[in-house]
Symmetry: C2
Subunit: 307 residues, 2 copies
């Protein structure tokens, strides 16, 4: 029985999802290959039509526990232990749905970009309207205490430009990551109402490699000095970068036209102090919950469950 | 008891693994974060020192079944049903070891690049010598019958150049994907000794997106025409490209200096005929086994188990 949830008015001002592809209308069937879903094999409006919030990120296990956490926080009906992976027919992605949709997109821009293409088409086929998309996850901090949550102002590439570049048919195309509708300040306000979720707004740098690409000295290959690394990190800091991860630019560039979006990542270390993540496991687990707690609080406020 | 295997001489001429990073020698501990392994917490030489073959690719389930297949084919000791995921403490990657190592690296260059940094360091810490690294997987075919296996001659980027570009500290660096030691012809010879593994040698194009980046018309975004797409695929074909995937350039660029390498991917469709993968599941499963069968045959020949 969905009625309890359906009666809650979600007051987003974004329109129905835009799919910017004229070819889709001419297709008899659309197979969402990496989700193991399709328009002929599944009733997508029935399965997904009520979705108002989508969270992508984390790891497969974390996204499962996040779905369970949201179900508990929103006091949604259903048995929390019985959440099954909607994508279990494939082992590319993991997807959990409890009115809210929680997806693990893998690591890096190409992996999340495949997922976003199929997710946007899924929400389009399911005729979803008025929803918000969050990317949550972990990141390296730049000049912040480990455990700080960064709500992204601008997603920048490794040249500190607020754009996402992609090669299409041998030509480089550029998409902006600038916000249409920002919810950063609303999320920052939420953090002030919570204990133990220290939060700042800052720029997030998105790279295509974790080691050399983020100036780490501890990869299998490294051709630069400690001083070169620190100079690059200082430059990044001076342009407003406060954390580094690997998915944010394509997330914002692809989703900003179709939904309210926010990128919320916790920092696991301060890169000025080192490269390795050697923090004890239980501390990391607590850090990783912070973006979940913050986004859950935001959702509850939007739903009017707390004032 | 490893003796049965240890007595088999593996006659590779490649030296011990090179880790091109002077900083590693100064580190007291090396935490391989995404594998959930470390030099202080695990005895890496004991766990991995006997590795002679590493296969990366596929999907998590396929890499598990490949490990079981190899164990059966090589008549290795141990219970095939009891293979556990070495990376089960994390849910980033999956890793199975049966003398031979089978790893699922996720999708796309950034995901496999993190894995390769940690894999190369792992093999270095484990003091492995004389081994071969294979990337196996699926791909889109260019002018080939679906089900054809492509053994890669050259890995090229989306401008058809045999190179891998990466941004390091804000500067673009370029690494060659040209082969040091090619095993392509040996793999082609192997395929001629097998039934139902139609194989060609060709160039493999590596892209950073599955939809627009590979000229697909069925993504959430598409700004080009069918004719634009076909013109790009024809150009690719004329430069020698026979399949398209998302990991090969960084695999070859990073591994060619440290091991014998080969890229072996089956094609799931002919991109001149369409974009969607709608082939029945059982046919796809059979196609996906072909690179495994070919690489297993190669390994058995190298080990002298078949003449």
């Amino acid at each position: 029985d969905h009625s309890e949830y359906s009666e809650l008015e979600v007051l987003f001002k974004n329109p129905q999802i835009h799919v910017k592809n004229p070819h889709l209308d001419t297709m008899e069937e659309d197979v969402l290959y990496h989700f193991n879903l399709g328009t002929k094999t599944h009733n997508l409006p029935e399965m997904f039509g009520d979705i108002k919030f989508v969270c992508v990120g984390g790891s497969a296990n974390r996204m499962k526990s996040f779905a369970q956490f949201i179900q508990q926080e929103l006091a949604l009906p259903g048995n929390m232990d019985n959440i099954t992976d909607i994508c279990e027919g494939t082992d590319r992605y993991s997807m959990y749905k409890v009115y809210f949709l929680s997806v693990y997109p893998g690591m890096g821009v190409p992996s999340i970009s495949i997922m976003l293409h199929e997710l946007i088409k899924l929400l389009h086929h399911a005729r979803c309207i008025d929803f918000a998309l969050f990317r949550i996850g972990t990141s390296g901090g730049v000049g912040l205490e480990p455990g700080t949550v960064v709500v992204t102002d601008k997603e920048v590439d490794c040249f500190f430009r607020a754009q996402f570049e992609q090669v299409v048919l041998g030509k480089v195309i550029t998409r902006s990551t600038e916000l249409d509708v920002g919810v950063s300040k609303e999320l920052l306000q939420c953090s002030s109402e919570l204990d133990d979720v220290p939060t700042v707004i800052g720029n997030t740098m998105c790279t295509s490699d974790f080691y050399e690409g983020q100036g780490r000295l501890d990869g299998a290959l490294c051709s630069f000095s400690t001083e070169d690394k620190l100079e690059y990190l200082r430059k990044a800091y001076n342009t407003g970068v406060r954390n580094i991860e690997m998915e944010s630019t394509v997330f914002r560039a692809m989703c900003r036209v179709c939904a309210i979006t926010a990128v919320v990542c916790v920092t696991l270390l301060n890169r000025f102090d080192g490269d390795q993540i050697s923090t004890p496991h239980d501390v990391l687990v607590e850090y990783q919950q912070r973006p979940q707690v913050l986004v859950a609080h935001f959702i509850k406020k939007r739903l009017g469950l707390i004032v």
